[in-house]
C-alpha cells in the first residue's frame, strides 16, 4: 500500500524544508532551511524523527491535506490554527502534540495566528529529492525538492518510510513574541547621519507586505546616508540589515541574495532570528543595539533552552 498526502489546497507559501545547505554562498546559493529553526526541531522531535528530517513549512494560510495509507504520527508546531477531520468527527488541533492520522483523514491548516511560519512533521520520511544534501526548496533558484517550486493543489506527497509510535508526545511550548530586535552594529554604520542612527534605534518600523523568505522590507522614517548609498558588492549573511538609497531597511532572511551592494547598518543577533521571522506583515518592530559578547552569551542561553525543550519531549 502506498502512503501519501493529496494537496487539496496548497496554502500561500508551502515548501519542504530541513536544516538547509552549507558551503554554497560562493556560487550564490544561500542556506535556506526552515525559517524558524527551533519550531522545526521541535516538530521532528514530537514525531520521534531525526531532528534534521524534512518537514512541510507553511506561511500564513497553510495547506489542506488528505491522507491515504497506513497509520502515521503527525505534529504541527508554531502558533497555528488547524483541524483534523476524521470519518465522523472534526477535532480542533493543538500545536506541540503528536497525533495519529489514519486513512482518509484530512488536516486543514487554516492559518498561523499573529505569526508567519508553522511546521508539519510526520513520523518517517517524505519521498523527495535532495540537492546538495538538503531538500529545502529555494523557489528563487528552483533548487531542492519538488523542482524547487512551492507545493501546489492537486499534487501528491508520497511517503518513503513510516515510523509509527503508539505513545502520544507533547510539550507545552509557548511562542514568545518580541518587538525589540537586538542588533549588532553593521560594517557601514558610520555611513549614516547622527539623526539617521537615532532613527534606526528609536523609531518604530512596520513590516511591509513585500516580505518573504528572502527578506523583510520595512516601512518607516527615512534613515539618512551621508557617505554613499552604494558600496562595492560584497557578501551578505542572514540577518544583515541593508539600507538602500530610499532609506528603508531590508533585513536579509534565509533565502537571501548572497551578495549585495547596499550599506549594512546592522545585523540581527542570532538569538532573535527565529522570533524575527515570525513577525507578520503590518506589525511594528524596533531595533536595540547589543555588543558582540552579549549576543554570543544570549545565543548560548537560547541554544541551551532549545536543547532543554527537546530533551523534555
Amino acid at each position: 500500500m502506498s502512503n501519501y498526502f493529496e494537496i487539496i489546497r496548497s496554502g500561500i507559501n508551502t515548501t519542504f524544508q530541513d536544516k538547509g545547505r552549507d558551503n554554497l554562498y560562493h556560487i550564490g546559493i544561500p542556506f535556506s532551511g526552515a525559517m524558524d529553526n527551533r519550531n522545526f526541531l521541535i516538530a521532528n522531535k514530537l514525531v520521534n524523527n531525526n531532528l534534521y528530517s524534512a518537514v512541510i513549512e507553511f506561511a500564513y494560510q497553510g495547506p489542506l491535506l488528505k491522507y491515504t495509507g497506513n497509520k502515521i504520527n503527525l505534529a504541527i508546531t508554531g502558533d497555528v490554527i488547524f483541524s483534523i477531520k476524521k470519518k465522523d468527527t472534526e477535532i480542533e488541533g493543538s500545536c506541540y502534540v503528536s497525533y495519529q492520522i489514519e486513512n482518509g483523514d484530512e488536516i486543514n491548516i487554516i492559518s498561523t495566528n499573529k505569526s508567519v511560519y508553522g511546521y508539519l512533521a510526520i513520523g518517517g520520511q517524505f519521498d523527495i529529492k535532495f540537492q546538495w544534501n538538503s531538500c529545502s526548496i529555494n523557489t528563487k533558484a528552483n533548487i531542492g525538492s519538488n523542482d524547487g517550486k512551492k507545493l501546489e493543489a492537486g499534487q501528491k506527497i508520497k511517503l518513503k518510510k513510516i515510523n509509527l509510535n503508539q505513545d502520544i508526545k507533547k510539550t507545552n511550548y509557548i511562542n514568545t513574541k518580541i518587538e525589540n530586535i537586538r542588533v549588532i552594529k553593521g560594517t557601514n554604520f558610520e555611513y549614516f547621519s547622527e539623526v539617521g542612527k537615532k532613527i534606526f534605534y528609536n523609531s518604530e518600523f512596520t513590516v511591509s507586505k513585500l516580505s518573504d523568505r528572502m527578506g523583510m522590507r520595512l516601512e518607516g522614517p527615512k534613515i539618512e546616508n551621508i557617505v554613499n548609498t552604494n558600496i562595492k558588492s560584497e557578501g551578505l549573511i542572514k540577518g544583515v540589515i541593508q539600507v538602500p538609497a530610499d532609506g528603508k531597511p531590508i533585513i536579509m532572511l534565509s533565502d537571501h541574495g548572497t551578495i549585495g551592494g547596499y550599506p549594512k547598518i546592522g545585523v540581527v543577533a542570532s538569538v532573535d532570528y527565529d522570533r524575527l521571522v515570525q513577525i507578520s506583515t503590518g506589525s511594528k518592530i524596533k531595533f536595540k543595539e547589543i555588543k558582540l559578547s552579549d549576543a554570543e552569551t544570549l545565543f548560548k542561553l537560547y541554544e541551551m533552552e532549545t536543547q532543554n525543550l527537546l530533551s523534555q519531549i
Partner: protein, 224 residues
C-alpha cells in the same frame, strides 16, 4: 593581504582586503578563499569571496568570533594552483522590451543608445565573483563613461536573463529576482544549471566574457 578583520553580526567574520577593486586584490581574496575551503576549520560553514572582501560564516553553536579570527590571522596562505579560466561569448538581445533602463542610462551617462551599446560590446570582461543569486557573474570593468549607480529603490522583480550594469560592473540575472541594477538587455543563455551539482555555474571567477548582440528573432529561436 587582509587589511582588517571585524565581525559581521555574531556569526561571521568580515575580512577587508582594501577599498580598491582590481584583479590583484581579487586574486588575494580568491587565494584565501581556496585555502580556507580546503582546510575545513571546525564550525566554518560558508565563505563568500567578493571583489575585495571575504566573509567567513560560522556555526555559533560550534565556534565564535575570537576563535575564527585567531585561526585566520595565523593561517598560512599557500600558493594555490591557478584556476583554469575560459573565454565565453554571451549572446544578448537589446530589443526595447528588454532594455528596461536604457532611457535612465542615456540620461545619467549622457550618451545615446547606439553609443552605449558600442561601448558595452566589443570588450572583454573579467569575472570577479559569482553570487547574489545562484550563478550570477560579476563582470568588470566597464568603460569609465559607462558607470551608473543602482536604482534608488530596487525592483521587486528583474526578469531572468537580464544583463545589467552598475558602476564598473556588468552582471547577468540567472533567475527572476529582486535587484537594483540598470537593465540593458537580455540573454537567452542558461547561465546556471542546478542539476549539475558539481559544476552548476557556466561562468566562474577568473573567466573572460565577451557580449555579442543578437536580434529579437535570434533570441526567440535561440537553441543551446
Amino acid at each position: 593581504m587582509i587589511k582588517n578583520i571585524s565581525n559581521l553580526g555574531d556569526a561571521a567574520l568580515y575580512c577587508d582586503f582594501g577599498n580598491e577593486v582590481n584583479k590583484s586584490i581579487n586574486s588575494q581574496v580568491i587565494k584565501y578563499f581556496n585555502t580556507i575551503k580546503e582546510k575545513k576549520f571546525k564550525g566554518i560553514n560558508n565563505l563568500t569571496p567578493s571583489y575585495n572582501k571575504l566573509i567567513i560564516s560560522y556555526d555559533l553553536k560550534r565556534t565564535n568570533f575570537k576563535e575564527v579570527k585567531e585561526y585566520i590571522e595565523n593561517l598560512n596562505i599557500e600558493d594555490v594552483p591557478k584556476i583554469n579560466s575560459k573565454k565565453l561569448v554571451i549572446p544578448v538581445c537589446f530589443h526595447k522590451t528588454f532594455s528596461m533602463d536604457i532611457e535612465r542610462l542615456e540620461k545619467i551617462l549622457n550618451l545615446n543608445r547606439e553609443k552605449i551599446l558600442e561601448n558595452f560590446l566589443n570588450k572583454e570582461y573579467f569575472c570577479y565573483m559569482t553570487g547574489f543569486i545562484a550563478g550570477m557573474p560579476f563582470l568588470g570593468d566597464l568603460d569609465k563613461n559607462m558607470r551608473a549607480q543602482r536604482l534608488e529603490t530596487p525592483r521587486v522583480k528583474v526578469p531572468k536573463g537580464s544583463v545589467a550594469l552598475t558602476e564598473q560592473f556588468a552582471n547577468i540575472y540567472t533567475f527572476e529576482s529582486p535587484g537594483g541594477w540598470n537593465i540593458l538587455g537580455n540573454t537567452p543563455l542558461n547561465v546556471f544549471d542546478s542539476t549539475k551539482e558539481d559544476k552548476p555555474n557556466l561562468i566562474n571567477p577568473g573567466d573572460i566574457i565577451v557580449f555579442k548582440k543578437i536580434t529579437l528573432d535570434q533570441y526567440k529561436n535561440f537553441n543551446e
